[in-house]
Symmetry: C2
Subunit: 341 residues, 2 copies
């Protein structure tokens, strides 16, 4: 039986917002298994702001996706065929280089096997105990280094990373203020996740709200967004404060000249540490983070939300949610059913 692989391929680089036709869905047969290879049926795609970076040719931390290539992205699947004795059929795995497609044919050594842990579904390993959880963990603890009683601000606070950042900061004894879009997100991070305060940037003056909620200034700004929200936070940062720079999603769709923070001088005057990071920089320490994150989840101290859209064919519509904010927590696309489902 010849299997058909649907693949989203980049047709042209988006100008500004992602538009219909920037990617197209192409079908091709899945080649036969080679020596040492495994064939993985995709269960879920992870949709992340970095997808938009890779679609562009801006300066970035990996090569961009070339025109005509399969769209790169995190994925998890189940092994359906295996020519690698270390990777059994039925294993749940994450290919090192995932893509937006039905099938991944890859050397067995290029997949990470995902453990089966009661209480931790596959989607947990694609969010809180996966790349997004690790991003929050290392950015906050390694760069931000919040001390008990300090004030931590996080933008995109109801997002996959931000929601975890705030909860870890609380576990470390900090006061946490989240910036999110809309009353329901703000309610969620305060009432369900335990943030001390939330600022609804769509309906509030962020600067005035920060003044109200951060009377002792800001010690850590976990930056996901950039633009005017970052400016407002930067203006209120304390001497010797820290700013893990995780993302600048507000600027990824920009066309034309970008401008940096209008108060860049603050970094000098307040002796702020700004450090860009990408989670893969911490690969040697992923296990350490997974241990802590899984423990916190199983103990009920760390909550997470996943938004699952259905169908590979909807991936392009789905990824746009990252820019409109029309989702909560981690954004996934389910491509095929989990085994036993």
């Amino acid at each position: 039986m010849t299997r058909i692989n649907r693949q989203w391929r980049l047709r042209r680089r988006p100008e500004g917002d992602i538009a219909d036709g920037d990617l197209h869905l192409v079908e091709s047969p899945v080649p036969a298994l080679g020596a040492g290879e495994v064939l993985v049926r995709t269960l879920y795609l992870s949709l992340d702001p970095t997808n938009r970076i890779w679609m562009s040719d801006m300066d970035q931390y990996m090569p961009p996706v070339e025109i005509g290539e399969v769209m790169r992205g995190g994925a998890v699947g189940v092994v359906e065929e295996s020519a690698d004795p270390n990777v059994p059929v039925g294993a749940i795995v994450a290919p090192m280089l995932g893509g937006w497609q039905d099938w991944h044919l890859t050397p067995g050594g290029m997949v990470r096997q995902i453990p089966q842990v009661p209480g931790l579904p596959v989607t947990a390993f694609m969010s809180v105990v996966g790349l997004t959880g690790w991003t929050a963990y290392f950015g906050l603890l390694d760069i931000g280094q919040p001390r008990p009683g300090e004030t931590v601000v996080v933008s995109a606070a109801a997002g996959a990373v931000g929601s975890i950042v705030g909860q870890i900061a609380k576990l470390k004894g900090a006061r946490v203020v989240g910036i999110a879009g809309g009353a329901e997100k703000c309610r969620w991070i305060v009432d369900d996740l335990g943030f001390d305060a939330a600022i609804d940037y769509k309906h509030e003056d962020v600067g005035a709200a920060l003044d109200r909620h951060c009377p002792a200034g800001i010690d850590v700004n976990f930056e996901n967004v950039g633009g005017p929200i970052m400016d407002a936070v930067l203006a209120r940062m304390n001497n010797f404060s820290r700013m893990p720079l995780c993302g600048l999603i507000s600027t990824y769709n920009d066309t034309g000249a970008r401008t940096g923070p209008s108060n860049f001088q603050q970094i000098l005057m307040k002796r702020i540490l700004v450090k860009g990071f990408i989670v893969i920089d911490y690969m040697p320490r992923f296990e350490e983070a997974s241990r802590d994150l899984a423990t916190w989840v199983l103990e009920g101290k760390l909550k997470y939300k996943v938004h699952v859209d259905q169908g590979l064919e909807n991936a392009v519509q789905s990824v746009k949610r990252l820019f409109s904010g029309d989702h909560d927590g981690k954004l996934l696309v389910q491509v095929s059913p989990e085994p036993g489902a």
Copy 2:
């Protein structure tokens, strides 16, 4: 005998460039010595970019100078009268809070005594073995952390701090490229100070010159200037590079909205560490730096230049040189003759 103290006082905050009349020279009698006080005759004023910051009401690391107050600034003088047994008459001292004036009347505990070392004149302690040397030392070694073979770029490279930064980087085995204004400054830092290359920002395209002189990219950017020069350097920084943020002199005279670096995203993509600092943050470690710096100077491994203008009455004209670049190395104003001179 009543001594008259001439003092430069801030009359109004400069708008853009410092203008005549922003400060005025006022005379007042020197009060009698109180218990524990010392009277210091000013020998030299240190003129530094931070003077301009203190004249403004921009967000800054110390309170600005208030209208009507004596202009704050580094100074060194000789003790003429003393009511503090620990501070003898004739000692050369730096008041903790210096100002642009003929006399400093201050508690003896608020002065730092400057040692008399053959081969190190008073002016060395106001430059290479003083605040500017310490600034270079800690910014480069503590934040920049250049490794042998790495490429270090420094802006304002013929300035008081930049010229020391480049030489220390060479002593640590790095390749050093300086950015300075004018052929003579560029000649000086390469021929006399041993920089590997110089870029004349007044007559060259800085980006193209950086491409030529930094074929392996930039690992450390010691930033003194900001603006388009910083943008050009930032665009060429390597993964995991470091940027000690020491000054942004190109922006201190700005009126209206400032804009940050146009390629702020680079900090994220290249995982750059940016850290603002002020030399006084390192006060507990000044002795460590002085030991190294003095040793290097006495061994002939570290050169420095001072530009000395004469007369307190010329301090305002003199400080403008920092913005025009019309001086080399450390800028001082001599207020009165050294003892024995």
